[in-house]
């Protein structure tokens, strides 16, 4: 039997971040090529994606880009709205639709939001953090813009694999926490490497005159990590779930404050 997608001329790619393959379907071949280029290294070969989105391209609305996003759930269906896109997603059928202009930023935002929703149910989260792998173990560097995330990974020595300089992807498989590479770029302008590793430590970043690592109280660690977690949904159940996830994470993963002077020798203290 012919697939319906083929019958109506949809072209598709599967973007797999954090081990969650998302099928994106579009009738516009230029847009598909743009997606392939943007998510290079994260294109999956899965015939059966876990999530499926049809993308309908509207006219150019680049002037409507804004940070004001609304993520709500009604009758089990998620609605994601910002000036430059509107998306619907039904978790029951794992499918949805996205209406946006042919720009890469809208689909990137939709993917980030969808992943936050998917992770919230299973104890994971996205967090404003750079992350790297060194000696098969992952390290997260958490902080808001200006804290030094991009600076840290920009100074990383050659034996360090960069997962991301902007948005870290954390999953909990029940026996521990794993960080995954993401294509969500920050100031480095370079997508992460699509690998994963168990998380060894999380560092709260601060710049200072010298390098030092200090312990911090658990409650302070939870507050700091929570303030950097990406979560957009107006949904009480998931908000509580994210809170518990961060508390559990900090309870299991060593979390410290890393004050660093921007020079390569700070990496002598990591791993």
């Amino acid at each position: 039997m012919l697939e319906l997608t083929a019958a109506v001329g949809y072209q598709q790619i599967v973007v797999e971040v954090g081990g969650i393959p998302v099928r994106l379907r579009t009738t516009n071949s230029d847009f598909r090529r743009m997606l392939e280029n943007r998510y290079q290294g994260f294109i999956g070969a899965h015939r059966r994606a876990e999530l499926d989105f049809r993308i309908d391209l509207a006219g150019s609305k680049a002037d409507e880009l804004s940070d004001d996003v609304q993520v709500t759930r009604s009758s089990g269906q998620w609605s994601l709205t910002r000036g430059d896109f509107h998306a619907e997603w039904d978790p029951e059928s794992s499918s949805g639709s996205i209406r946006q202009s042919a720009n890469p930023y809208s689909i990137d935002s939709v993917l980030r939001i969808v992943h936050t929703l998917a992770l919230a149910k299973e104890g994971g989260f996205l967090v404003h953090a750079a992350s790297v792998v060194r000696k098969s173990r992952a390290y997260l560097f958490v902080g808001p813009s200006g804290a030094g995330k991009t600076t840290m990974v920009g100074m990383a020595p050659s034996d360090v694999t960069i997962l991301t300089d902007e948005i870290s992807y954390v999953r909990n498989d029940g026996s521990g926490y794993t960080a995954f590479g993401t294509p969500f770029v920050g100031d480095l302008g370079k997508i992460g490497t699509n690998v994963s590793a168990r998380i060894a430590s999380l560092y709260l970043l601060a710049k200072g005159p010298e390098n030092r690592i200090e312990p911090i109280a658990t409650a302070e660690a939870v507050r700091s990590v929570l303030s950097n977690v990406l979560f957009f949904a107006e949904d009480q159940e998931l908000v509580r779930s994210v809170f518990r996830s961060v508390c559990d994470f900090v309870g299991q993963v060593p979390t410290r404050r890393l004050t660093f002077y921007p020079a390569c020798r700070v990496w002598d203290m990591i791993g």
Binding site: A217, T218, A219, V222, F231, Q236, S241, F243, C247
Partner: protein, 106 residues
């Protein structure tokens, strides 16, 4: 004669005791609250059944060097503030326990 005041944790929150502090996340608006050691004791005891006055006398005044009247005044102020944020329920009658969230400790 003063009427009794009953306090109960809202079911719209998630909370976790971390050391001496209690962190509370409002599910409504994602606001994060931090309670100190004494306030955390009141929060944990706020089961909707024990009057606030009894919580203060039995769990605060018995552990800390504080006058009952001063402790009660502070406790009422705390309860009012948490109530205004919608994370604590206040009533002059006992409050049903079915709506109370589970307490977590780490």
């Amino acid at each position: 004669m003063n009427r009794k005041l009953y306090v109960a944790r809202s079911s719209d929150v998630a909370s976790r005791r971390l050391g001496d502090e209690m962190l509370i996340m409002s599910g409504r608006d994602s606001t994060l609250f931090t309670l100190n050691e004494v306030a955390a004791i009141i929060w944990e005891a706020a089961d909707g059944v024990i009057p606030l006055e009894d919580i203060v006398v039995e769990r605060i005044c018995s552990q800390f060097d504080v006058e009952p009247s001063a402790a009660m005044s502070d406790a009422e102020e705390l309860a009012d503030e948490l109530s205004r944020h919608g994370i604590l329920l206040l009533s002059e009658e006992p409050i049903s326990q079915s709506s109370l969230p589970q307490q977590e400790r780490q």
